[in-house]
């Protein structure tokens, strides 16, 4: 499964991408160490995911709290 690229975010600077080395270091820090041959493809995929998710930076979320434990009938 892969993501379809979205149009660039208006008003937001382009995000700095991962290098294979920075992807390896970040994954290591997250407790998911990568094998060396995985660094480039994981870097590219992570950049793609972040490009999609970072669209949320457009939103003014004010003091809205997160919904970590979710219930459909309660705020």
């Amino acid at each position: 499964m892969s993501l379809t690229p979205l149009p660039p975010l208006p008003g937001l600077p382009p995000l700095p991408g991962h290098t294979p080395q920075s992807a390896a270091a970040a994954a290591e820090r997250a407790g998911v160490p990568l094998r060396a041959d995985r660094h480039p493809v994981v870097a590219a995929t992570a950049d793609h995911i972040l490009a999609v998710v970072s669209r949320l930076r457009e939103l003014d979320l004010a003091d809205i709290s997160p919904a970590p434990s979710y219930r459909a009938d309660e705020r």
Binding site: T4, A26, T45, A46, I49, S65, D73
Partner: protein, 488 residues
Amino acid sequence: MTVVQPYELSLAEAADAIGDGHLSPVELTESVLARIEATEPLVNAYAAVTADSAREQAAAAEREIAAGRRRGPLHGIPMALKDLIDTAGVVTASGSAVRAGRIPDRDAAVTARLKRAGAVLLGKAHTHEFAYGLTTPQTRNPWAPDRVPGGSSGGSAAAVAAGSATFALGTDTGGSIRVPAALTGAVGLKPTYGLVPRDGVAALSWSLDHVGPITRTVRDAGLVLEAIADRGADSLPGSEYGHGHGGGGHGHGGDGRGPGYGIPRGGGLDGVRVGVPSDYFFDRVDPQVEAAVRTALDRMADLGARLVDVKIPLHRYVQAVQWGLMVPEATAYHAEQLGHAPELYGDDVRVLLEAGALLPAVDHIRAQRARTLMRREWEGLLGQVDLIAAPTVPATAAQAGQEAFGWPDGTTETVADAYVRLCAPANITGLPALSLPVGFDLQGLPIGMQLIGRPYGEAALLGAAGAYEQEFGPAPRAAVDTCLVAKK
């Protein structure tokens, strides 16, 4: 005159026949097992078939019923469970080499509930690996074997459509019940988040995962939900329409008494306000899909529904929220295994799990906050209308191996992204959503319409869908027999 075989019966029809003494659980189970043998070479819906155990369960059901101890409408009815759902003593591998040969000690909560209701387990239905995908490549669509059944509950939907299970359970994180239901001409219900327990079901994303039924009819979906839900929707907000009026169906124990998800008979859709989105849900949708859904909407209006134009709130952020929640949750679930034997995962799943480790926590929290906002906006929307009606997916079943759809505006979209796009809002908001068949495209592939309701409004949703189905009938059984003949 064509004789109807037991495997062709809907759950409700089979339950009525068993209740009347015209059909035994053993006859029904043998018929469905024979159907499995006939269709599996083409469809491959099952990861494992437990024929001997099914025969024993059916014989036990027959004895109990003969002794006057019928438990309800599911007693003696053969069904399939998605391979993500634990079954004590039966291999449950989540479609992955990571869990090959894994045999759980305990049943999932839903498995235990179906057993208590007397249902007969036929086997485990294929899933896209760990439910992290929308195609279920192991399985073929019973309507066209060169096409995917959708996913991730592709085996469950294909079995129901092919007649090789009378009903099935699936799971839904971004459409994984509704997508395969739509692509195979079945009914798929994603209940309100939390209504059906997920204990003993492998997680993809805890905050988005749901368990629910895939069936041949709307009425059947209500019968299964009754057996697996934590509590009756009738006592909860959002259930004020369409529940139980007329006392038809098998609301409670097959006798039409008491609370439940029985479908009202002959009530039509008088006064029901159906929200028809003027944006998002009809953007980048195959014209044949759009035409079939709009025809179905006209039919709902003919049945008394009032169609109301609505705008979908915050739709620009649906994909961002879905991925901001699902991607890191999935990686967290698999983190330990990824460190041990990552090569056991399929390529498509492995790269997403690995890349999920790189999403900053602040973006995950931002997705959770946006989710709060989205839920509030949808709550307001469902104050204006009783339910939302839209296509389930923007296209019919893709070819096996197809990677993308092209849209008239010149854009392309991956098959997975397209199939998730219209389903994800109900996962993010936790709202109940149901897909029902409303027609076919020119290639004879099924088209699904999605109805989205209020929290715990399953009875209302089933009532509206049931009213449509009673008027226009369920989808015919898949044309797999023609394919089987052609193959010989």
